[in-house]
Amino acid sequence: MLTGLVAYWDNLRDGIYRLFIFPEYWHGIRLPALVPYVALAGIFAFTLGILPMLIWIERVVIGLMQDRTGPNRLGPRGLLQPPADVLKLFFKEDIQPGSIDVRLYYLAPFISMLVALSAGAVIPLQTVTFRNVHGGLYTVPVTPGNVNIGLLFMLAASSLGVYGIILAGWSSNNKYSLLGGLRASAQIISYELAMGLSLLCVVLLAGSVQLDHIVNAQNTLPFGIHWLPSFLKGSIFSWYWLQSLIVPVVIYTVAMIAETNRAPFDLPEAESELVAGFHTEYTSMKFATFFAGEYVNMLMICGLNASVFWGGWLPPFNCFPFTFIPGFVWYILKVMMGIFFYTWLRATLPRLRYDALMNLGWKRMLPLALVWLFLLAGYSLVRTATAPHITPTAVVTVAHVAPGR
């Protein structure tokens, strides 16, 4: 009975898979060559399209959490609030303070926006399978640039983002701005180490820094335990948040909040101490660019998180209702979960003190990440030295058998 049901699901799934296999040529155009452009258009359209909505989502979620109404005046459930905000920012008076470094002052917001957007260039949304002219099947990732340094590219882009903030702080010629800029650079540099080390844990497991390889490496049975049922293959239990034994994902999550200067680590723009930090002197569109840059940055960092720790385009379970939904939807859902997490933290946690922030980064996260990297290295050494699947099987078996039986 059960086996029959499983076979039925499997047949159904194969049938659905076949629907998604595209021919290589379509009216004389080689389709795989178009994939990067489609991905580019998709990523940027999505990013820029969702930006105004993010603000609305954030306000609604915070409203719900804090038992307030949130936006409810313009349109149904305040849905017209984002366009109104955008319009307001467009038409606000553009103030240029005196005694500033003009060129850098205008450059700063664009740097922060541009660098944040550039990170999107390597994000894989999902895979598509093509049938070539000989009838064979092959799969390519849908990403604007499928480079072998994907993860490093993301890291590079996120580390360049600090220039926008630091230049804004300096060029404004305002001590609050400068302090904000200094805080931001110190904070970002400090947390980049922990972030890089937590990502290295994943690289260690996946054996690649190419993002689509990392996602594909998660498409196995959890911990390589071969006797688990096949619907767990590439499931939520085999993604790297669990396979790297949870600590790296915690470190990454904390570091990503610090990297994007969001609550509770929003020291660079702590309004109670620094007015508005690095963007105190920015108004109207320049401020809006900063604002948008911050949200784009959040999206990208959550996108990386979703790819490396949460299985990218993989559905949470490898069986019918989940596999029917296309990969990029899962991916976007995962990214939005990250954004929700950001909002959740912002609604609930108070801001850290600056020394506490630095202590957390240098004395807790960094050593923890280092130790974990060593542990994982030892673990995968043992794993490759023995047969790849034996160690986790043994661990699970012992854990299962030892107590009681």
Partner: protein, 171 residues
């Protein structure tokens, strides 16, 4: 041909940024020009199919080293230029003359340089710059790169200890 055009554009950016870095009186401007120069170099590395080094160049130099520079400049509030950013004119002249000689020597050594022997196919070269190839070369048990790598880790330990020793307040 497009490669050559890209080379020249980047060369202009690179040399221009380097010159700005030297001539600027304001340290912040110097630092930013240097960032531009480093980014142009990173693009060079990518065009030379050394993708890994290109990314590391951005992460380490542009993302960490130069941010530290800017951080220190701002922390010490050195943004304002000193009265004269360069030394006396005699020394300047001597330095430029020395530089000209050095440039001539280095140019002669470089400009006629050709790699003798067979040309490397682009595909081979392409495969050499990936993370995998670099890692395999670095840890190859038959090549001498492992030891300097280990020595470098000692050097970094010294640097960490040193940075803490130097900047910690007197106990």
């Amino acid at each position: 041909m497009p490669a050559l055009i890209l080379f020249w554009i980047l060369a202009i950016v690179c040399i221009g940024a380097a010159l700005t870095m030297v001539t600027a009186a304001n340290p912040v401007r110097s630092a930013l020009s240097l960032v531009v120069c480093f980014l142009a170099l990173a693009v060079y590395y990518v065009t030379l199919s050394a993708q890994f080094i290109g990314a590391v160049q951005v992460v380490v130099y542009a993302g960490a080293v130069m941010v530290l520079f800017l951080f220190v400049i701002m922390l010490l509030n050195l943004g304002a230029p000193v009265t004269s950013s360069t030394k006396g004119s005699n020394q300047n002249t001597a330095a430029v003359a020395l530089g000209a000689i050095l440039l001539l020597v280095l140019f002669i050594s470089g400009i006629f340089f050709e790699i003798p022997g067979k040309a490397v196919s682009p595909a081979t070269a392409q495969a050499q710059g990936t993370v995998k190839a670099v890692g395999l070369t670095l840890y190859n048990p038959h090549l001498p790169w492992l030891f300097p790598f280990e020595a470098t880790s000692l050097l970094l330990l010294v640097a960490v200890v040193g940075a803490i020793v130097m900047t910690r307040r007197q106990v």
